[in-house]
């Protein structure tokens, strides 16, 4: 009958009505009431304590409201009450699957605020660890996505088998499996031994074989194709306007990768491509992750080849007690989930006056409702899984 109620009834959208199947507006005598389903915060497929309230017409979603805050741990408030360095371990706990890259984003912001430079070897190490983190994140994500599709744990077992190998390396480097707390302002904390680098190199060399195995298992699976192709389409223009970043944006065909755009760190020295999707559906988002992992392997092998010797810490850098001049800085990286930014405002004191995390997971959920409209409730779980959120970052 009608097109779906636009989320912004008062303001004309520059992009017209949302794409995707038309949803019936149900208010005549032939249709019953809408059924409201509250999924979460304890639900096996909401990846933590996420909650969404869906209104259903039969099995079709006509309205979906996410509810946040069940893991709001006051990271920003705590960070404003401690020194710059003391917030570093908290950034591990933001996106707890990717502590290495979150560390980097924060270090980048503080370095920008301090005007601090970073030695070459540390830059290479940062790239190496961030790309390894991306691989871990994407392979786990694919596992979780298939979990949501109903494979009940099997792909996840493969993903975690591989993750353990990476995590062992992280542990031998930083001392902790998940909460690495590895970056410092002006460099890194410990220098990896040649054996560590050799082990990491072997692991990466063997990784494509795992990817092939993984793909043989998953890509092209009939059920998977039926349940992901054409599901949860995301229109590129709307995605940009909604601030969606990372693989979700690129799966819609928008070429925006901060590694290329900002060329932060040493990414300008590496030769890699940015995979793009065509349809912006769940299948593209899955496939894009696989392709990104292959690109990460490419970056990593170049990094292992080129990593120079030298210090890992700027000798002039202060170790603790940072007091940046009054001012503000916004630094961002291409995290595995999207643009991860840190906004810091200093008033010259030992603590940041304002500390803000720009969480990709939260903002990527902006269009969740639009992507789910007209699909069944079972598909909403898969769409959510393909967006890839971590609740520690959504709620902070």
């Amino acid at each position: 009958m009608n097109s779906p109620a636009p989320a912004f009834a008062s303001v004309p959208s520059p992009f017209g009505a949302p794409s995707g199947p038309t949803v019936r507006a149900v208010h005549d005598q032939f249709h019953g009431d809408l059924l409201e389903v509250s999924m979460g915060p304890q639900h096996p497929s909401t990846h933590g304590v996420f909650r969404m309230i869906a209104s259903l017409d039969g099995e079709q979603i006509v309205k979906l409201k996410p509810v946040f805050g069940y893991l709001h741990r006051n990271h920003e408030k705590i960070a404003e009450n401690t020194s710059y360095l003391a917030s570093m371990p908290y950034t591990d706990r933001l996106d707890y699957l990717c502590s290495m890259s979150t560390n980097w984003a924060y270090a980048l912001a503080v370095e920008k605020l301090l005007g601090q430079s970073v030695p070459d070897r540390a830059q290479y190490l940062r790239v190496i660890l961030a790309e390894m983190t991306r691989i871990v994140n994407h392979s786990c994500l694919v596992g979780f996505l298939f979990n949501d599709l109903g494979t009940s744990f099997t792909p996840l077992l493969y993903a975690f088998r591989e993750r353990e190998k990476f995590i062992d390396l992280f542990e031998s480097l930083s001392g902790s499996r998940m909460m690495c707390n590895y970056q410092r302002f002006g460099g890194c904390r410990v220098d990896p031994t040649p054996e560590w680098l050799a082990a990491a190199r072997t692991l990466i060399e063997n990784f494509p074989r795992f990817l092939d195995e993984y793909e043989r298992l998953l890509t092209g699976n009939e059920i998977m194709l039926a349940r992901t192709q054409g599901i949860g389409r995301l229109d590129p223009a709307r995605a940009v306007n909604a601030g969606i970043t990372g693989p979700v944006l690129r799966a819609s065909g928008v070429d925006y990768d901060i590694r290329k755009v900002d060329a932060y760190g040493f990414y300008s020295r590496f030769d890699f491509r940015v995979p793009l999707g065509d349809h912006g559906d769940t299948y593209d988002r899955y496939m894009l992750r696989i392709l990104e992992m292959r690109e990460s392997v490419k970056i990593l092998s170049q990094a292992f080849r080129d990593i120079p010797a030298g210090p890992i810490m700027d000798p002039k850098a202060k170790q603790r007690g940072h007091r940046p001049k009054a001012g503000e800085a916004y630094a961002r990286i291409e995290g595995p989930k999207g643009e991860l930014g840190f906004y810091l405002l200093s008033d010259g004191g030992p603590n940041p006056y304002r500390y803000r995390v720009r969480p990709p997971s939260l903002i990527n959920l902006t269009l969740l409702e639009e992507m789910c409209l007209g699909h069944t409730i079972a598909d909403s779980v898969v769409i959510l899984g393909s967006i890839d959120i971590v609740l520690g970052e959504v709620d902070r």
Partner: protein, 228 residues
């Protein structure tokens, strides 16, 4: 001095609990398995714990890791994570409990059937952990729920979770089915459901369950000599 062989001596057989372990092992070697109902029951229960499948924060990832191939929680009979609290025996509170989440955790606990156990996994679930200063962070789930096992760590390694599970199994094996020391779920005075806190204007109301938790005593000071 010696009894004639024709009159058998009646040797009272000791109850299973009174036999020493060595005797029982001896008998077991000879093909006789002795047990008591209590032991059999506890043995079965302790080796088929079904945890509730719910993760709160970072610790949940290590909980998942404990369930995967390398650590394989299935070796201890606890691999069946049930998404429904109605089917679960064990609640692993894995991660930060925020004040917004606390009422729901208590509600989940209330929905679990007895006998049920609670493991507080990680510093956050024990005391608020690194996020203790947060305005929205509950400073320990033991303010609202009875916790059986505390596993420190941030996050605890999967091995630590397995250790906590083994400790829980030991606890279950030591439970009595009757008598004054019977297990908690068999006693009438021990509640099975706990009051669910409500969202208030500044904090949860109540902020803790006074029957379970009270503020720790202030630090001890050296006694003062009244005559000095």
């Amino acid at each position: 001095m010696s009894t004639p062989a024709s009159t058998p001596v009646y040797v009272p057989f000791p109850a299973a609990g009174e036999l020493s372990d060595a005797d029982r092992e001896d008998l077991r070697r000879n093909g006789i398995l002795l047990t008591s109902l209590e032991e059999l029951y506890n043995w079965g229960r302790s080796n088929s714990i079904w945890p509730l499948q719910f993760g709160l924060a970072c610790c949940a990832i290590e909980m998942i890791a404990a369930a995967t191939a390398r650590f394989d929680i299935a070796r201890f009979g606890a691999e069946i994570f049930r998404p429904s609290p109605r089917q679960a025996d064990l609640m692993i509170v894995s991660g930060t409990v925020t004040k917004k989440m606390a009422p729901l955790v208590v509600r989940l606990w209330n929905q679990m059937p007895e006998p049920k156990y609670c493991i507080a996994m990680g510093a956050c679930a024990i005391s608020g952990g690194p996020f203790k200063q947060g305005y929205n962070v509950l400073k320990g789930i033991d303010r609202f729920l009875p916790v059986d096992i505390y596993i420190p760590g941030c996050p605890p390694r999967p091995e630590a979770l397995l250790n906590g599970l083994i400790k829980l199994q030991e606890q279950i094996k030591g439970e009595h089915l009757n008598g004054p020391r019977s297990a908690r779920h068999l006693r009438d005075d021990a509640p099975s459901e706990y009051p669910i806190p409500e969202y208030g204007t500044h904090d949860l109301t109540p902020a803790q369950n006074p029957a379970l938790w009270s503020a720790p005593a202030p630090p001890r000071y050296p006694p003062v000599d009244p005559t000095a």
